[in-house]
Symmetry: C2
Subunit: 468 residues, 2 copies
Amino acid sequence: MTELVLPEDVAVVNVGLSLFTDAIRDQDRPVATVDWRIPAGGDLEAVAALKRLYGSRGEAIDEANAEVVRRLDEGVPLLVGLEPASRVVPDLGERTILHCGPAIAWDEMCDPLRRSVQAAVVAEGWAAAPADAGALVARGEVLLEPANSHMTVIPMASAVGPSAWVWVVECREAGTRAFSAINQGPGEVAWFGRDTPAAIERLVFLAEVAGPLLAEALRGAGPIDVFGLAAQGIQMGDDVHMRTQATTNILWRHLLPHLVALEDPRRVDLAAFLASNHLFFLNLAMAGARSLTEWAAQVRGSSVVWGMARNGTTFGVRLPGDDEWHLAPSPPVTHALYYSGEGPETSAPDIGDSALLELVGLGGPAGAASPAVASFVGGTMADAVRLTEDMDRICAGRSTRFKLALLDFRGTPIGVDVRRVVETGITPRINTGILHASAGTGQVGAGVAVAPLECFQQALLALDRRLA
Amino acid sequence: MTELVLPEDVAVVNVGLSLFTDAIRDQDRPVATVDWRIPAGGDLEAVAALKRLYGSRGEAIDEANAEVVRRLDEGVPLLVGLEPASRVVPDLGERTILHCGPAIAWDEMCDPLRRSVQAAVVAEGWAAAPADAGALVARGEVLLEPANSHMTVIPMASAVGPSAWVWVVECREAGTRAFSAINQGPGEVAWFGRDTPAAIERLVFLAEVAGPLLAEALRGAGPIDVFGLAAQGIQMGDDVHMRTQATTNILWRHLLPHLVALEDPRRVDLAAFLASNHLFFLNLAMAGARSLTEWAAQVRGSSVVWGMARNGTTFGVRLPGDDEWHLAPSPPVTHALYYSGEGPETSAPDIGDSALLELVGLGGPAGAASPAVASFVGGTMADAVRLTEDMDRICAGRSTRFKLALLDFRGTPIGVDVRRVVETGITPRINTGILHASAGTGQVGAGVAVAPLECFQQALLALDRRLA
């Protein structure tokens, strides 16, 4: 661009495009920036909808949003049990595999999710090997359904059959009940898109050893306040999405006497698995979040997103009172750190149900809590704070439960308001892992995904039509 | 004071006393402060010593200090075992109780330490009740010796007999070996100055159940890099002195498979004790620090403190090559939060060997790592950062192991230089608990103790004499 040349003593207030600011700053002149952009990128239909949704309908929407925020903030998800999915997950057919993300046909699934489905089918005993499993599914002899429709949320490329054990989390004041599978751990595992013998073996271990023994330990411990543990974890460097290590450790300390009290000699195998799994709490946090988003989904006339999920092909969001998920292509994961030899070209798009954490004040909104997250977004805590502040600009409230020490203990942003997203063009930032696009070799890195704007725009327009 | 009245457009550079700054700032005038004070408070003897120790002898001292810092920073304390003190602690007589802090006679001990000694004597089986134990000690039939002289460091009002099990920590490159007792946990416990039946029972439990079983679990796990765990804890909100919860949890996760593998049914009692003890790692960190300070103490001609300990009556510091501890009255703990109904008037002075942590980059120097510490020193992370920055002004180096996310991952200050302490008047800030002064009711709060300047002045003058 043409260089701006300034007189000696000018001071500048810049409104809008930062290119100008940068040019002025390059010349060591003082400059104040007002970050103003054309709302909704100038999209006339969106601008008209925003005018109505902030204007004549604004007050009613704000009221509904306050109730959604209250439910997401004050609901207490209690971990009450661990059971086989077949026993507790509602409306789960006999030959059904639940998958992450919005509904999707077998032939549209990305490679990691197909492999994970195949591993689950073999672990169920419906096929002898992954290739047979794939053929079975392709012939329609195994039903594929989104876990989310069954009050179940599962991270990354997870797929869950009826014999998998699932955490049972209740929000009693809401009367809701949500489920998540046992986290499969790092390494050669199906939720990272692997269908090797070891990955299938892990699923069998979870169903036959970890499930029953953890259930027994949990019965001894009694109900656990899932978000109470997460709130402690936030003070200990977790964002409780990309990093759950502190919260996982708190869970082990809590369960320690009950794990030690198990008589079954396989308790030693279980303990070895648990001690090597720093991601364990992720699935519990997700089930906790789902028990709250279901409560939030019952509020009428709100512009706050209750559902956000990805299957590696599509990314979907959903508003209270809306009958459908609004979809866009699943985005790549950016701000990423890759394992050696990996990069964007070997990476599958953003995947998993875990993005719902970003709706309840965990993950991206809790960036400012986490030195580990900082390393993905620029290296300093200031970079991690920016993640929180971006979410603050599009959220309707702040958590009274998840507190950010670095920001004078103010709460993490909660309740993504689709109006603010479309107005500012800022979409949720999601802290997440990255899987290999095609080779079935599992995790290749981790980073931050920026949700696609398009599905939020569709959700906004649908809300505008519903309220008309 | 007389009010300063300023003309409209004055800008001020203030050198020295902040009273002037405050007055100027009160009038909304810009002011830059240069925090200059008369070195050593104008003490002529100290100023003359400083002149020599910074001047003609400065270069040699700086070189020695660099070696001390290297040893404190690079030494790797390895936890290698857990054994009865009688079996491993050097030169431990049969009828001896080791106590925290500098050497002190029975009749000069503060109430919490006397009670703790009594509890230890009863736990050893040398007396039937605390009063009998006190009489026995008063008659000289039990020897009292400072733990520090036996390469042992014990927190708060701890007292240790030969039957107590102690952690064995080695720094192999140094050829040093240090010891600490098993942490007694919160509540009704001897190290908090209690001599009740429950407190004595806890000591017996540690010697008969926790010691042998933890030793077995540790043998399964193999040597543990104590400061490697502490470095992780620093990223998780621990200062690893006042708060050790994250590091303790990491230790449990590490030991989990080995605790679960124990066959002895008393493993359930052990696990219940461990799960309720968030202070557990404190003693391990201390033994790790002691294995390094012993290495540092072997450097000649350094002005960096290697020993800092309190017995509730006196506070002592010690320099490499010096034959004695330099003593001052133990200070009160300030910046404190008290339990309901307690306050400065019911509080014993600062006590315990744990202050050595502040010499190796933990505790006060790691304030900026810990939201929990922030709550004691003003409420915000900026207050906690100030703790770190005060230590930075009196330390000779920075840790390459303990990193502060909030300060762009720079290391915590290590190596307290007695020259800088005397020059600035800033003494180490020690994050610590507070015990009841007389009632034997245990902990009454926690806070930050400011070490007394007097003993650092004495140590400086002694160094000046030694180098003459």
